[in-house]
């Protein structure tokens, strides 16, 4: 039985797991916001729906709000969007 567990652990360790994202963004407003996220060399558009909370950026990234505000994340921060402004806890 323990051999099975070890083989399973080994194979799971080798297989690439899902990316765990570390910083949390919570949208406290009633509208959706689309953020431009630059992580490493990739630039993507991430939408946070009203009242939704998502996780992004495990290793630091640059955020741009639709109104031009910029934010720099370095790791597991908690962010809140309120009245169109982004605030870090």
């Amino acid at each position: 039985m323990s051999r099975i567990i070890q083989v399973a652990t080994l194979s799971l360790a080798i297989a690439s797991p899902a990316m765990a994202r570390a910083a949390t963004v919570t949208n406290l407003d009633d509208v959706d916001y689309t953020l431009a996220v630059t992580e490493g060399t990739t630039q993507s558009q991430v939408t946070v729906a009203a009242g939704e909370s998502i996780e992004i950026c495990s290793q630091g990234c640059f955020l741009t709000m639709p109104n031009g505000d910029r934010e720099v994340l370095t790791g597991p921060e908690q962010l809140q969007i309120q009245d169109g402004r982004i605030k870090v806890q």
Partner: protein, 781 residues
């Protein structure tokens, strides 16, 4: 010609630091934030950050130039990449440092409010200034973002270049014929001369100018190594050395001897080398080329020594009893020397390669050296497969397992073929991997074997550690077994946690990659739409265990301190204890489940469908369970009562939630499901008190005078001391048939549970009185 192989010993030393380093690596930059909220201070901080970003941009350009210059040097590229990653982190930190200033600006802008008519000019001006400043900060952040993208791009480019270099090394084909000719020997002589003169010149320099430092450094390094070796011997004592006297050591002791006799000397040697290099470097004794030679030499010696100790532990040619593999003794000698020479030749080839690099030897010499080295290694490996190590039933030599043999032949043959075809890089790579990965895998396998050996029943108990523990803590057998199991699991986990990263590291992966993989893996595993986290599950289990033990402790305290002192009834104590126990376990389970963070909503659908069937099946059990709870609360009987239920009669011994144990007078234990007590009538002779009525039917012949019989019976029963006066006893004349008169004596006694002697005594006296009075029970003669 270099290959991106990371030597083991450096890693062995750094292992301890790696665990701490992982924690730091995850901590991806924290506060470089300006502490003050005053506008001036954060403004200055913002200005500083702008400077920092500009400096980073300049360094990026410099590094880009270096990248292009060193596009074929893997080591330099690796260094540049490390620097770039550090700069990226600094950049992120700088960007984050603007945050307090931005927040201050935003707060002030909110205070001022939107532009309105008739407001003072200063307010409008302030708003204008703040808005301008905010825009400029945003611009700078935008620049920082672009710079970060550029840096990350360079990092990826370096990774690509290194991969290409590696692939090229493996696939590059050299012209063997051109390399191996008479010039080779002449080149060899020249290179040896150059090496000797380089070392000699350095030695002269050292002796003339740096002798005291050298002596001090060497002495300190030796001290450190001896301390480790001596300390290891003292701590582990006999687990270290194979005792020739022992005829049949347990597998566990063999394993531990091999493990410690490999680990501690190698660690001592590694410490000595590391300390020597570090101290020489610190005192400035090393010249750049000697530095590199020394590092290569030390790595090589450490690896060969490690393999030597490992092989002598596994094959143990001189002490057959201590062998880990059950091989024949002649085969053990052969195998040991084969393994040792393989490591020696490969290490020598590696060292020779570094020497060639540093001395800038001609390519032909390098190719020739590697050619001969890899062919020799290939032959050695094939010989290894050729050996017949085992004995079959008749005592004749038996070969290795065919799959293993095929694998060994493949690897050895592959090396030779690659070498002859000219793919020297590939051949070198294979032979180095044989030694390094082979060594790591073997060590991991030994660790796994020792874990299995410990987890065998009774093995831990017999080991020295087990005996020490059981003496200190006086444990029983079952606990020792469990400790053994837990230890073996821990060893397995450690083996994986140390061995796998080592293998990946020296295959060229970076520590950052490995640690981020592990972090991701432990944090969240996603299968389809179900995700769970290993860390969460472990947390849940731990929380549950804590809750469980807390409940037990609370139960014991409640029972022992509170209820015993309050002289509470035994039955009540039992009930309360059980109730508290179940409640506590339930709460602990719920908290543990929520700590594990398992989202069970997908299972809810299936569970709903099943619950109908389960509900029907578990009807009776749930019935019993609920009845048990009602019994606990209502307490129609307690432990020790004499009850009559479900056709059985006896004393209550134990009340559980599902069933109750009753002991009949024949000492049979009846386990009655609790629903019987709740759903049907239950008789309890001792519910409020032990008082009860004894009924004794008496039948006499019709010919007797009923009044006389009545008087006799009344006298007998009232005359007995145990008969209670209140309620008063009575004798009833129940009726008569053509041949019989039926009476019943109804007497109350204080203790209904022990009436046997009372009834016997009454009956004795009745018979005596009947005989004396001449009352006939049967027909008169």
């Amino acid at each position: 010609m270099t290959l991106p192989i990371r030597p083991i010993p450096r890693l062995l030393i750094v292992l301890m630091l790696l665990l701490g380093g992982q924690a730091l690596a995850q901590d991806a930059g924290d506060g470089t934030e300006a502490p003050a909220t005053l506008a001036v201070e954060s403004e200055n901080a913002a200005a500083d950050q702008s400077e920092k970003i500009a400096a980073i941009a300049k360094r990026t350009d410099q590094l880009k130039a270096q990248m292009e210059l060193n596009a074929t040097d893997d080591g330099v590229l690796a260094e540049i990449r490390a620097q770039l990653e550090e700069m990226n982190r600094e950049l992120l930190g700088s960007g984050a440092a603007f945050r307090p200033r931005l927040e201050a600006i935003n707060a002030r802008l909110d205070e001022i409010g939107a532009a309105a008519d008739g407001e003072p000019a200063t307010l409008a001006a302030e708003r204008q200034n703040l808005t301008t400043e905010k825009t400029s900060i945003n611009t700078r952040l935008g620049e920082a973002e672009a710079l970060s993208v550029r840096i990350s791009g360079m990092v990826e480019e370096i990774a690509r270049t290194r991969r290409e270099l590696f692939a090229n090394t493996l696939s590059r084909r050299y012209d063997i014929g051109a390399a191996i000719n008479q010039d080779v020997l002449r080149d060899l002589a020249t290179e040896s001369g150059k090496l000797t003169s380089a070392v000699a010149s350095w030695l002269r320099f050292v002796l003339n100018y740096k002798l005291p430092s050298v002596l001090l450094a060497t002495a300190l390094a030796l001290l450190a190594a001896f301390a480790l070796s001596f300390g290891g011997r003292r701590l582990f004592g006999r687990t270290f050395v194979a005792d020739p006297e022992t005829l049949d050591p347990t597998y566990l002791s063999r394993l531990s001897v091999t493990f410690w006799s490999t680990l501690i000397p190698t660690a001592a040697l590694a410490v000595f080398f590391a300390a020597t290099w570090f101290l020489y470097d610190y005192f400035g004794i090393l010249r750049r080329d000697i530095d590199q030679l020394m590092i290569a030499l030390f790595n090589v010696i450490a690896v060969v020594f490690f393999v030597y100790r490992l092989a002598s532990g596994i094959f143990s040619p001189k002490l057959p009893a201590w062998r880990l593999l059950p091989v024949r003794t002649p085969a053990a000698h052969t195998l040991f020397w084969l393994v040792f020479f393989t490591a020696l030749v490969t290490a020598g080839d590696f060292f020779g390669g570094r020497v060639n690099e540093i001395m800038r030897s001609p390519l032909s010499l390098t190719v020739a050296k590697s050619f001969f080295a890899t062919v020799i290694v290939g032959l050695l490996v094939i010989s290894f497969g050729w050996v017949r190590p085992f004995e079959d039933e008749e005592g004749r030599p038996k070969r290795w397992h065919p799959l293993f043999r095929a694998f060994v032949y493949l690897v050895g043959g592959g090396t030779i073929i690659a070498a002859f075809l000219g793919y020297i890089g590939l051949a070198r790579f294979i032979s180095q991997q044989i030694v390094v990965t082979g060594g790591i895998l073997t060590t991991m396998y030994i660790g796994y074997l020792s874990a299995s050996a410990i987890s065998e029943i009774g093995a831990f108990k017999r080991s020295r550690l087990g005996r020490k523990l059981s003496d200190r803590f006086s444990l029983d057998e079952a606990t020792e077994d469990q400790i053994g199991l837990a230890l073996s699991m821990m060893i397995n986990i450690m083996v994986l946690a140390i061995g796998l990263p080592l293998i990946f590291l020296q295959w060229g992966f970076r520590w950052g990659d490995i640690s981020s993989w592990t972090y991701n893996f432990a944090n969240e595993i996603r299968i389809g739409s179900i995700s769970f986290s290993l860390i969460g599950i472990v947390t849940g289990i731990v929380v549950f265990m804590v809750g469980y033990f807390a409940t037990r402790a609370f139960q014991r305290w409640l029972d022992g301190k509170v209820m015993a002192r309050g002289r509470v009834d035994a039955g009540v104590r039992n009930s309360v204890s059980t109730a508290v126990g179940y409640a506590g376990v339930l709460i602990a389970g719920l908290i543990g489940l929520s700590a594990a963070g398992i989202d069970l909503s997908s299972f809810a659908l299936v569970a709903g469908a099943l619950s109908v069937g389960i509900g029907f099946g578990l009807q009776n059990i749930v019935n019993n369970f609920v009845s048990g709870l009602i019994l606990l609360a209502e307490r129609p009987f307690k432990v020790g009562d004499w009850i009559v239920a479900g056709g059985f009669e006896g004393n209550v011994r134990k009340i559980s939630v599902r069933a109750t144990e009753i002991e009949t007078f024949q000492r049979q234990t009846v386990i009655m499901p609790n629903s019987t007590f709740i759903n049907a009538a239950l008789g309890n002779w001792t519910h409020r008190n032990r008082l009860g009525r004894v009924d004794i039917p008496i039948v006499v012949h019709f010919s007797n005078d009923p009044r006389v019989v009545h008087a006799v019976l009344t006298a007998v029963v009232t005359g007995h001391p145990q008969t209670l006066k209140n309620p008063a006893p009575s004798v009833t004349f129940d009726g008569f048939t053509d041949a019989a008169l039926n009476f019943t004596i109804k007497a109350f006694v204080a203790d209904i549970t022990s009436t046997t002697s009372y009834k016997n005594e009454l009956r004795f006296q009745i018979v005596e009185r009947f005989k004396a009075e001449g009352i006939n029970v049967g027909a008169p003669a």
